[in-house]
């Protein structure tokens, strides 16, 4: 082969190589061989997190530049952003560092700013806002979970009592019923008297019974009454049990009947209960507040909203894993 041809081939080959290197460079690093005119903005952050040189700068998700340099400047970290000069950045636009996925890949997001605001000149400093990164988010969620647990704990304490403060709501209700059983008893007696009168056909009800037109209505009413009667029977049974106890001198009623002194106590305690229930109604005390205080309700709602927002924020960055992590943190 003659030498000229060989030289030509080597030359061609070499040029091809240079061209391919250039193409590779252009494709892989978005070409900076011929330094294009760029706009430089400086963004100061407390923490650049995992931002690296060459990461994207995006406005509304559209790439408008890249991170040229990251550096420490005194007590803060600065990212030098190279922005396409054709894209004006509003002077009140805010830059944030955003994760584009759970496994790495950060970029700087710049919002649109307000319409009509003047655009930032070359070399100006852009306003920044810090966004929680995954780690701070996780620790916040952990704290939130603890708060929730605490408030749920005090709620159940209020209901069940913690043994020291003399019983929760349930116990108190129980006591209320058993303490007032004599009045219930009287009520029952009245009821018995009324039903006796009905049986005998006295009064309005007696007439009702004898009026065939109203039979059907009455029947329905009787069904209701029957169920009421069943309940009443139960009450009576209770009352009978209580009466037995009273007769044998047991229980608070027994002492009430046979012991003058304890009868006084009982009166006092009933007065107490009344005071408690009054307080409840007026919204005093923890339980009362829980039931009546709109502020507490609001703050619970705020807490729940916060959790909600956190979840939203997380779902932006990776729905499945984020929920998983939140669930783990909570339970």
């Amino acid at each position: 082969m003659n030498t000229t041809q060989q030289t030509a081939r080597v030359g061609l080959f070499f040029l091809l190589g240079v061209a391919l290197v250039w193409v590779t460079f252009e494709t892989l690093s978005d070409g900076k061989i011929f330094a294009e005119r760029t706009h430089t903005l400086i963004a100061g952050f407390d923490d650049l997190k995992e931002l690296k040189n060459g990461d994207d700068v995006r406005q509304a998700g559209v790439k408008v530049g890249s991170v040229q340099l990251t550096r420490l400047a005194g007590r803060r970290a600065e990212a030098v952003l190279q922005i396409d000069p054709k894209v004006p950045i509003a002077s009140d636009a805010v830059a944030t560092i955003v994760m584009s996925g759970l496994i790495g890949g950060n970029y700087v997001a710049i919002d649109m700013g307000s319409n009509g605001a003047p655009s930032l000149p070359d070399g100006a400093e852009i306003r920044t806002a810090s966004t929680p990164d995954l780690n701070t988010l996780m620790s916040e969620i952990g704290g939130l979970g603890k708060q929730l647990q605490d408030s749920l704990g005090s709620f159940s304490k209020a209901i069940n009592g913690d043994g020291k403060a003399g019983g929760g709501i349930i116990q108190k209700l129980d006591k209320l019923v058993s303490d007032n059983s004599s009045r219930v008893d009287a009520t029952m007696a009245n009821l018995q008297e009324i039903t006796g009168k009905i049986n005998r056909g006295e009064g309005t009800l007696g007439k009702l019974v004898n009026d065939p037109k109203l039979h059907d209505e009455l029947l329905a009413a009787v069904t209701d009454i029957r169920s009421t009667a069943a309940q009443a029977k139960e009450f009576v049974a209770n009352a009978e049990g209580i009466m037995d106890q009273v007769k044998s001198g047991q229980g608070p009623l027994g002492t009430l009947v046979y012991d003058q002194k304890s009868a006084d106590d009982l009166k006092a305690s009933i007065a107490n209960i009344r005071a408690v229930s009054d307080k409840l109604a007026k919204g005093e005390g923890t339980l009362g507040k829980l039931i009546n205080d709109p502020g507490l309700y609001n703050s619970a709602q705020v807490t729940i909203k916060k959790v909600d927002r956190t979840l939203d924020g997380l779902s932006d960055s990776g729905p499945i894993t984020a929920v998983g992590i939140v669930v783990n943190a909570l339970f």
Binding site: Q6, V10, F13, T24, L28
Partner: protein, 250 residues
């Protein structure tokens, strides 16, 4: 003991040859024709085999990656895997291995036969150093041609991967997605990294093969032995250097 001595002797001889050759660097502009000839041998004629091999390395990488990743839905990363491993490791390594087999053996054979048939002695009596006209143009040529070979190997390998990604049923990724992933994770720095590696490999292969050729002693039978030794030593050096160069460049 004898072996260690032989290795030390070899290292010393290679280093001496390197410095002797470099001392004639100034004469390179006047050796244009020889340089072009060596470029032709090292670059142009090696291209087809480098291209074929790289294409199939790319396809195999994509195939294996696709097979391994299909179970956990990371097929989108095939592009980045092929891109990075071609650029950083397999491109330079396989090209250097081919260079050892194709160019290294030819260099050793040529210089060994020149030595055996006293052509080297004739050069010495003419006061024309072998390092100047035989070794230096080859070293320069390999430095110039290696990046060209590497960039072609990379691109052909990436393309091979995209073909598999597109047409193999269980991979089935569009070339756009493949190249997007490739571009996202492969930086030009990685390609440069691979080229630097390849330059080291190519330079060492050529230098060692020259040295072994020039140190051949005895009759024509020794030419064959020298070629074998040249290729084997080159391959070992490529793999050993690969570790250290990678570590330095990381």
């Amino acid at each position: 003991m004898k072996q260690i001595n032989a290795i030390l002797e070899g290292v010393g001889s290679v280093v001496q040859l390197l410095f002797r050759s470099l001392s004639y660097t100034g004469s390179l502009p006047r050796q244009g024709a020889r340089f072009i000839e060596q470029c032709y041998m090292i670059g142009y004629t090696t291209l087809p085999i480098v291209a074929i091999l790289s294409f199939f390395i790319g396809t195999v990488l994509a195939l294996e990656a696709g097979y391994a990743m299909q179970d956990f839905g990371a097929k989108e990363f095939i592009g980045s895997l092929v891109g990075l491993s071609m650029a950083r490791e397999l491109g330079p390594m396989m090209t250097a291995v081919l260079l050892a087999g194709r160019v290294g053996s030819a260099i050793t054979a040529e210089l060994a036969s020149m030595k055996v048939y006293q052509e080297i002695d004739a050069l010495t009596t003419m006061n024309i150093p072998a390092a100047k006209i035989l070794v230096l143009p080859r070293l320069a040529a390999v430095l110039v041609m290696m990046p060209v070979l590497i960039v072609i190997a990379n691109i052909v390998g990436w393309f091979g991967g995209s073909v598999v990604a597109r047409y193999v049923s269980y991979v089935g990724i569009s070339p756009q997605a493949y190249f997007a992933a490739l571009r996202h994770y492969t930086k030009f720095k990685d390609v440069m990294n691979g080229m630097e590696k390849a330059e080291v490999f190519g330079f060492v292969v050529v230098l060692v093969c020259c040295d072994i050729g020039l140190n051949t002693r005895g009759g024509p039978r020794e030419i064959g032995a020298a070629v074998t030794r040249g290729v084997v030593v080159s391959l070992i050096l490529i793999l050993v250097l690969d570790y250290f160069v990678t570590k330095i460049l990381l």
